[in-house]
Amino acid sequence: MSLVEDLLAGDKRAAAKLISLIEDGDEEATEVIRAIYKETGKAQTVAVSGPPGSGKSTLIHRLAQAFRRRGKTVGIIAVDPTSPLTGGALLGDRVRMGDLTADEGVFIRSMGTRGRLGGVSAATSDAINVLDAFGSDVIFVETAGVGQTDVEVAALTHTMVVLLMPGAGDDVQAFKAGIFEVADLFVVNKADRGGAEAVAADLEVMVGMGEETGWVPPVLLASGLRDDGIAEVADQVEAHFAHLAESGGLEAKRRTRVEREILGALAESIQARGLALRSGTAFSDWVDRVLQKDASPREAAQGLLETLGPEG
């Protein structure tokens, strides 16, 4: 397992290869994660979510620079959607992060969602583990947009930053998608354009309502493009982490994340084993019974579930 040793020694190639094993669902990945798991739990993890084009990559670029100036190493995982039709993906987030590539203390990885059985969370979570063990102090995860993915990723990270921009009506969209409930920090980006203050004022009213955790999500104005307001965002990211540490929230987050990881892995393996049944006779027998209206699809699933033994 020299890849693991190389990773723990801070080798970028090893980190890259390990993430590939995870993405490919390689069996070796399970073993590798087991081997590195003890070395995880040191990084601060930050999800950055927001509608397409709201400036997530640009903001992460600036935040990464800010944390580098504060003496931290940075890992970035940029998730973009995989086309369900072709299985291909265009991963373009590096375009906005160009000069970070040359920085020894930064590692950037682009990932497609790949229509995974257990949702994006399983692979993303393991990729976070790899960068954590690799030694990144702060890990940013850029997610594909506003929706279920972001809510999943929020459960895997310490701090959820939600980006909005003026003039897009995103606040309403984010509200619908359940992003509001999981946001720890709102950034109204592109504040170099008009209308940002109005969006921020609307948000302030909404976030003021019913927070029981002792943390009211701050609403900040920023311009990733002009590098304005970035230090304040970085300050609040740090403040949120400090709040979690003081309030016992870190432990609660860890537990939630582990639960998600186990459930994700469980869903993935059950589904994989379920799909494997498809080629067997028991499966086609059940299909025939359902076709003859002798059973419902749900009963068939129950019957098949009982045939899944302890061994894979």
């Binding site: 970028k12 290869k17 590939s20 490919d24 291909g88 993906a89 991963l91 375009v95």
Partner: protein, 130 residues
């Protein structure tokens, strides 16, 4: 479920990346994961990104005539960093006379103007993990 990962980069100073973007979309539509890095990349940045992204192939596009220095440098740095298995292909406006020397410098294949996307896809599919 393995997927072919390709880095598409545009080294050099000219500011036209339409060709590179067309290729990037075409490879995506063929089911590949394409990491697009944008304009004005140095060979050092391209190779570092190729390492972090663990790609199977690097596609370079140049219209500026800088291909004779930049493409070989990418190929050499990849070898030096232990990434000799990565396929290196080039495209853009490249005179036929240059193609031989580029091949000698470690560029696996040059696609000239008017190449069908299908050819590029088939070449990559047939040669990754060289």
């Amino acid at each position: 479920m393995e997927k072919i990962r390709v880095l598409v980069a545009k080294p050099g100073l000219d500011g036209h990346d339409r060709g590179a973007k067309v290729i990037a979309r075409g490879l995506r539509d063929a089911g590949m994961e394409v990491i697009y890095t944008g304009l004005h990349q140095t060979p050092e940045d391209i190779v570092e990104a190729a390492i972090q992204e663990d790609v199977d192939a690097v596609g370079l596009s140049s219209l500026s005539g800088a291909h004779m220095t930049l493409f070989p440098r990418v190929a050499r740095l990849l070898r030096e960093r232990g990434m000799e298995n990565v396929l290196v292909i080039g495209g853009g406006i490249i005179p036929p006379d240059d193609i031989v020397s580029l091949k000698e410098a470690g560029i696996d294949r040059i696609f000239g103007p008017g190449t069908f996307l299908k050819e590029v896809v088939a070449y990559i599919e047939g040669h990754v993990g060289k």
